[in-house]
């Protein structure tokens, strides 16, 4: 894998436009999908991703191979998206600030337990064995986009990178400049929020 990457980087640095085109084809849609969730609308996301590729082209010679090439490119895209969003006053200057401001009380999950660590408000009995076959799944699917967009920024970024892009904790940590422990906490909080919102859809109750 690393040898393949080394070879790709050599080809990119030597002006192999076929290699560059393949890289763009593979990553551009993923970058656009991710950046659009951090810095919408799509027209702005497109500008950010184009800008990202220009940085990649300019700085290809500085890539040292400490991470995967795709991780490095996602890192640049995230930085450009945050810079744009912060400039427009949408986010706090750092992800950790955004985390603290947007989510001071964590996911509130501990209020679900009594002093002996037992459930006070246990999860309801959903989903059924094959949830994707249920009509309710379509309702949940229709709601989930809004749920993701309403997550605090840092949680949203971590959930998207882990659960949509399939990156591991270390890669996400590199991309977002957070410790692996912070990434795990953010993922925990984001997933429990998603679960809570899905529970509201599946049970028809208000989320908590």
């Amino acid at each position: 894998m690393l040898e393949e990457q080394d070879e790709l980087v050599v080809r990119l640095r030597s002006g192999d436009r076929h290699a560059f085109r393949q890289l763009v084809d593979a990553l551009h849609p993923r970058l656009l999908r991710f950046v659009n969730r951090l810095c919408p609308p799509p027209s702005v996301a497109e500008e950010v991703v184009q800008d990202t590729w220009h940085v990649v082209i300019d700085r290809l010679h500085t890539f040292r191979g400490d991470s995967r090439l795709s991780t490095w490119i996602f890192q640049i895209a995230t930085h450009r998206a945050r810079t744009r969003a912060v400039r427009e006053g949408r986010y706090a200057a750092t992800l950790l600030e955004s985390w603290d401001h947007a989510d001071p009380g964590g996911d509130g999950g501990l209020s679900r337990f009594d002093s002996r660590g037992r459930w006070v408000a246990p999860p309801a009995g959903w989903p059924p064995d094959d949830p994707e076959a249920s009509a309710m799944h379509q309702q949940a699917l229709a709601r989930i986009s809004e749920v993701i967009d309403q997550l605090p920024e840092a949680q949203r970024a971590v959930v998207l990178l882990r659960d949509v892009e399939g990156l591991d904790t270390r890669e996400v940590s590199t991309i977002l400049g957070l410790s692996p422990a912070n990434v795990r906490v953010l993922l925990h909080r984001g997933r429990h929020r998603v679960r809570s919102e899905l529970e509201a859809v599946w049970t028809g109750r208000e989320s908590c």
């Binding site: 849609p29 246990p122 959903w126």
Partner: protein, 93 residues
């Protein structure tokens, strides 16, 4: 024996397979006996799947000129001498 509150705290790591061996065994023991926590884990797994499904169905169209502009920028930066074979060779029978 893990408490339900502790299961709640590590359930996200559990569905990723990120727990150590001992914690994983404790988790499985707890889940075998606790209906509530089993539901929690199944719901988190379902949440992970549906987030991926929704995002996977999202396609944002790029401007048609975007890619050609990028290729032009790349060529300008890394322009190889003519005849260096930067394009893949044409298939020859």
């Amino acid at each position: 024996m893990l408490k339900c509150r502790e299961v709640y705290e590590i359930a996200s790591d559990y569905i990723d397979g990120d727990l150590g061996r001992w914690a994983r065994i404790q988790m499985r023991l707890h889940l075998a006996m606790c209906r509530h926590c089993s539901r929690l884990v199944r719901q988190l797994e379902y949440g992970r799947r549906i987030v991926r499904e929704e995002a996977g169905s999202t396609v944002i169209e790029s401007a048609s000129t975007a890619r050609s502009e990028l290729l032009a920028t790349y060529d300008a930066r890394y322009a190889a001498p003519s005849g260096s074979g930067v394009e893949p060779p044409a298939h020859e029978d």
